[in-house]
Amino acid sequence: MKDSRLDPDRNSKAERAREARHIAGDYLRAADSLLNEEAYQDEASPSIELFRRDPSRAQATEDAIMGRVRALGRPDRPPAHWSRGPARVATILAAAALVAVASSLLTVWAIERSSTVSVRFVLEAPGARSVTLAADFTDWSPEGYDLKQNRETGQWEIIVSLRKGRAYSYNFIVDGERWVVDPSAPVFLDDGLGGKVSSISL
């Protein structure tokens, strides 16, 4: 509930501060007397005695704290013209540019994401020590395209992210020597080099 003594329309700033101190003092005194009554009622709680406050000391502490705060002076504020003019316009433009760039990057990422697909290449090669994938999308280099053997199924597999909308040619290389086609691919052709090549359309 608001104390009528703090009515801003009625008193000056200094008066209001004085009144506030008095009010605080009144509250502290009221609290102390309440604590004293409770302490008398309960002799078995001596710890409460430790928190009994002397109103004059509390006032002195409050004055000391406020004195220090006032001694700090007004906080530094940027000059008023900083919030207007070219600097403000530049800040707004920079923020707008940042938002535009971020949204463009997000759009590009979304398009890129929607135009690619994760493809799982699988080969059943019991007894193989290693299986790698070589394709036109790897420049026919198997480096970095090692298939891992699935412990449950025993199949060799690798997942590759590829762009949709075109066909890819590929082979598996078993034990680093044997170039084989993917038996599960629906399309395979003679590679013109004495072997065959699989093709997948995405």
Partner: protein, 286 residues
């Protein structure tokens, strides 16, 4: 093992040989008594400065074949393409692996480049061949075959700006693979016509050619049937990712005793009408 000096000497010899080859083939192309002009306007004044190199063997002979690369790619393309391929052939891992047949590969490539075949088609094919550890002599033979197919493809494309430069090596390779696997020229011509008419993506054309080449082998389809299938597939509403399913349907059709003509007719009737894969399946296996 070759030292740096050896390589440099080899490169000079290679360049001299290459310009000599270009000179000879150009002279043959012009025929005896030719005044040097070409029907496509391949005169010296159309060539870029890099092609007018004084003091080299075959000076002034880097003229384009009638109606080919300079018309399609602009003046200066041929000399630049040859120079770039020559450099790659000497500097790359693949080129070093092919040292025994390098001059032969270069001669084949120069001839094809003159016909407008993109040098990257050679690079991609040679990478595949070297990665597969194919003997160099076999690679040379294979690349001769490929080049002959690519030259035919280039003739079919003519002076059109389709496929775009950066996509064209993939199309040449796909078309060459399809021709080598028995697909007729009619199918390639038809897919080029489709792409020109609809500004179709070269990647879609490539996928259609590869798929139909495989189907044609399975069903023993003739040129006309294959061409019908390529046109139907490329111009269909199917996604490229569904082309493989069409090949699977062809396999099932073959197992069910459906003939190539039956399959191609059903494919054309369903896909040309904007039908789906499911409709095609229903038509084939009611």
């Amino acid at each position: 093992m070759r030292t740096a000096d050896d390589c440099s000497h080899g490169k000079t010899t290679g360049l001299a040989l290459l310009f000599l080859l270009v000179g000879m083939s150009s002279a043959i192309a012009q025929g005896p008594g030719s005044s040097g002009g070409s029907p496509a306007g391949g005169d010296m004044d159309r060539l870029g400065p890099s092609e007018q190199r004084p003091g080299l063997a075959g000076e002034g002979t880097l003229r384009p074949s009638p109606g080919d690369p300079t018309v399609r790619y602009g003046p200066g393309w041929l000399a630049k393409a040859i120079k770039e391929f020559d450099r790659w052939l000497y500097a790359s891992v693949e080129g070093r692996a092919l040292s025994a047949v390098r001059e032969g590969v270069l001669a084949v490539a120069v001839n094809a480049l003159r016909a407008g075949v993109p040098p990257d088609a050679f690079k991609l094919r040679l990478r595949e061949a070297v990665a597969k550890k194919v003997p160099p002599e076999t690679i040379l033979k294979a690349i001769e075959y490929d080049a002959s197919y690519w030259i035919r493809v280039s003739e079919m494309i003519g002076t059109d700006d389709w496929p775009p430069g950066d996509k064209s090596p993939g199309f040449y390779i796909a078309a060459g693979n399809a021709l080598r696997n028995g697909l007729g020229e009619l199918a390639v011509r038809d897919v080029i016509a489709w792409a020109r008419g609809s500004r179709g993506a070269p990647e879609r054309a490539e996928a259609a050619l590869t798929t139909v080449a495989s189907i044609a082998i399975a069903l023993r389809a003739d040129d006309a049937q294959a061409a019908v299938m390529v046109r139907g597939l490329a111009g269909s509403r199917l996604r490229v990712g569904e082309f493989g399913n069409v090949a699977e349907l062809a396999g099932r059709a073959f197992a069910a005793g459906i003939s190539a003509s039956g399959f191609s007719a059903k494919l054309a009737s369903v896909l040309n009408a904007g039908g789906s894969l499911r409709e095609l399946e229903r038509q084939l296996f009611p």
